[in-house]
Amino acid sequence: MGRGLGFKLGVLLAVFGILAAGLTGYYSYATSRVMLAKSAEHDLLTSTQVLARRFSLALDEVASNARLLAALPDVAPIGKALLDPGTKPHRAALAQTFSAMLAVHPEYFQIRLISASNHGIELVRVDRDSDKLTRVKGDDLQEKGHFPYVFNTLRLARGEVYLSKIAINHEQGAHSGLGKPTLRVATPVFLDDGKLLGLVVINLDLNGLFDLLKTDLPADYSLYLTNETGDFLIHPDPSQAFGFDRGRRVLLQDTFKQAAAILDGKTNTVVERDGAGGDQSLIAAFYKLGFGQAEAGRFVIAGLSTPLEKVLADTRQLGANTAKIVAAFSLLAVLLAFLASRLLTRPLGMMVQAARRFSREHAMGELPVRRADEIGQLARSFNDMQVEIQAHLAELQESRSQLAHLARHDALTGLPNRLLFFDRLEHAVATARRSGKQLAVFFIDLDRFKEINDTLGHAAGDEVLMIIAHRLRSLVREVDTVARLGGDEFIILFDSLGDVHPLTMLAEKIIHGLSQPVEIKGRQLQVSASVGASLFPQDADDANGLVHKADVAMYLAKTRGENTAHFYAEGEERAG
């Protein structure tokens, strides 16, 4: 059918199908993408909060350990020894306890008991030194009274815990902890009599602690920690951490603009998309965590980030899946569209075939008239129309042949008229001329027919003419043409004659046949006719000539005494 209705319909349906599949796919993709990103953000924030919570719990544990150490019975003799220089201080037991504590807590750098007197002299000190523990003794013990973690802790009540600022430890001789990010957790030590002995300090390895805390986080999560001014303490790029210690501050709010809201105290959590910008775009979540004693409103900000790329990879996978589904549904839509268009166009095609056949052959083809739907209705209407058209056509044919008959026949007698006669004569002349056969034309005129008309009326005259015509028809062969030229004049064409002789007999037979009486309205009428004959090719070689010559011969017969026949002879002309 080429680019017909079926094609267009198919394309339209296919386009609708593809469009529907595509749009549904796109919107579900867009929605899922947003949900994925949201869920990634949510996961990140939750992980950050969990991490911060763990950090908080870890600090609580360190604080508990510090309090535990501060309350050990080994502390009291050391205190007594300090007050009474005569007694030998017994510090080894406490050092062993410190070592045991350090052994089970790899995230501790150092545990010390520091005196409140003697400029904060260290009384018992155990350092981590790479993979072993070292007890620092004698002259190597240092005076720490001028450090904030000492003089601030000594102002606290029993059981209170001091958390230092997180800083790089520059204290010489600190072994593994030297130059490392350190958080000092300290608590005052009181003797039984309530006298302040000093403090217990645990140096916490910040990076080691967070390495422990983040062990079960996804590998692509990066960890951040900042202090309350936004200086990075932990950063995926170690060169960005503790910038202030090297004179170049690297601030959270410079990298992650939205995180400034935490520092401004407007919120506790922030999730930032596209944090670092460029190729290293991140999703990052930050969470503010109260830190140390509530007094100064101190806090740290913990943060996790994951490459935006990773989240996008998930959405890309989703996109690819959606595209596959859309493609499959589009294919299905194209198939269905093809089928639907076939379903519609096949009956239409049938009707087109039927219509073509009808116009070509006026015959009906098969139509889907049994269908109950609109196509069935259309087919039935089409069928009805075909039937009606056929009926009309038949009627038209009928009247046309009638008209044709009327044009070439005499209305009264039903014989061929002059027009038809001359047609046949000319045709016969042409044939005879080729075949060399003879023709004969008989011109017949009824004698005194005018009298019948005048005496009995035209109706009777017409009746006579009809009877004469019938007789003439019965007197000649089927192949011969009997025509009425008008009035009481008849003419006969004898085609394909073998010999001239039977013609005289035939003329006699006609004259005799016509002279039989005719019964009109109960009266016997006597009619007769004069017959003039001409022959082809002897008398004339064309139709007009033959008729003319027969007319002349008929006239001569009439003048010679009616009811007779005369064959034209050369040179004869109608007198007058």
Partner: protein, 347 residues
């Protein structure tokens, strides 16, 4: 007003003058190593816009940190830096600091006469060549808390006074502390310590450690400590800058130049040998000597600038200009141990 019109003309001429420079320097990065308050972001931005460059400011708060940074890569990490005249010597010795082309720093002509006479300032010139341009200066006096100290102290020895035990804020820096301790312990040449001087200075500094509350690095730290603890005396390492800061924070303080004289530093700009663009570095120095930039030093930080005459308070009292020390590394190493709490017996 005719003045304004002239100023406008000058501006147009000036803009024409700097135009070729900006195109020659566009897109470069100038790495400045300096001290807090010397290059505030808003002033840096003006420079960045004018010359279409990026300026990377690195701040240090101790001479030791400054030395560490510049010496680390033989000065290749920075283009221009600020150091006091005493400190400058070791940078010249090491070849880190190189002579300046004064023609590139026309604003130096607007400095006070005493700073224009560059050859009279010890440490700025060597072998007839100028290595630095003075930018700001301050004497290190003593701040006292009027509420805790009845009579204004007259000497730095007040910091060792047991009456103020645990109420003194000293500075966490090796060079000045050793000079200070050496002067107070009777050394004749506090900038050129002998072995005996060292011994006395270490002892003196350990004594100081026993008497202080703590040692601070940043002036802000001192303010916070002053606020949270009963502090009687503060060694004003940052000079009048620090006085202003404490007063702004609401502290009721006095400031004295001790009778034995206060150490004073003169901070200068110098250019490194391995500067990527020495011309741009000199443009930076020239820029800092513009009125608004130098003025900001005084207005914002309370520091003296080199364009205006010093105030009466700063003018009064004996000043001892800092000089290069015999061995800064040794002082730093010793100081680090003192700071860490090593006892005298360990030295």
């Amino acid at each position: 007003m005719p003045f304004r019109r002239i100023a406008l003309h000058l501006l147009v001429i000036f803009a024409g003058l700097i135009a070729p420079v900006s195109s020659a320097t566009a897109g470069e990065t100038l790495r400045v190593l300096t001290w807090p308050g010397y290059a505030d972001p808003d002033l840096v931005q003006v420079f960045e816009k004018r010359y279409k460059v990026r300026v990377e400011i690195t701040l240090v708060s101790t001479d030791d940190a400054l030395w560490q940074k510049l010496n680390a890569n033989n000065g290749a990490d920075f283009d221009v830096f600020a150091a006091n005249t005493a400190e400058l010597q070791r940078y010249i010795d090491q070849g880190i600091s190189v002579p300046l082309i004064l023609g590139n720093i026309p604003n130096a002509q607007h400095q006070q006469p005493r700073f224009r006479k560059l050859y009279d300032i010890p440490g700025i010139t060597r072998a007839g060549q100028v290595y630095a341009i003075p930018y700001t200066y301050a004497e290190m006096g003593l701040i006292y808390n009027r509420k805790l100290v009845k009579a204004p102290p007259t000497s730095m020895t007040a910091m060792w006074d047991p009456r103020y035990q645990g109420q003194v804020l000293a500075y966490d820096g090796s060079t000045h502390n050793f000079t200070l301790a050496a002067r107070l312990s009777g050394s004749k040449q506090p900038f050129q310590l002998q072995e005996a001087d060292y011994k006395r200075a270490v002892e003196k500094l350990i004594d100081l450690r026993h008497n202080v509350l703590t040692f601070y690095s940043q002036p802000e730290e001192a303010v916070a400590l002053f606020r949270d603890h009963p502090v009687a005396l503060v060694f004003a390492n940052y000079g009048s800058q620090q006085v202003k800061q404490l007063q702004t924070a609401g502290a009721d303080i006095g400031y004295v130049i001790p009778e034995e004289g206060a150490l004073a530093w003169l901070d200068c700009w110098a250019v490194t040998k391995r500067a990527r663009n020495k011309r741009l570095a000199e443009l930076w120095i020239n820029y800092t000597l513009e009125q608004p930039v130098s003025q900001a030093l005084t207005e914002r930080q309370g520091l003296a600038n080199t364009l205006q005459t010093a105030s009466a308070a700063q003018a009064s009292g004996k000043i001892v200009w800092l000089e290069p020390v015999e061995n800064a590394q040794r002082r730093a190493a010793l100081w680090s141990r003192i700071m860490s709490g090593d006892r005298l017996g360990k030295f």
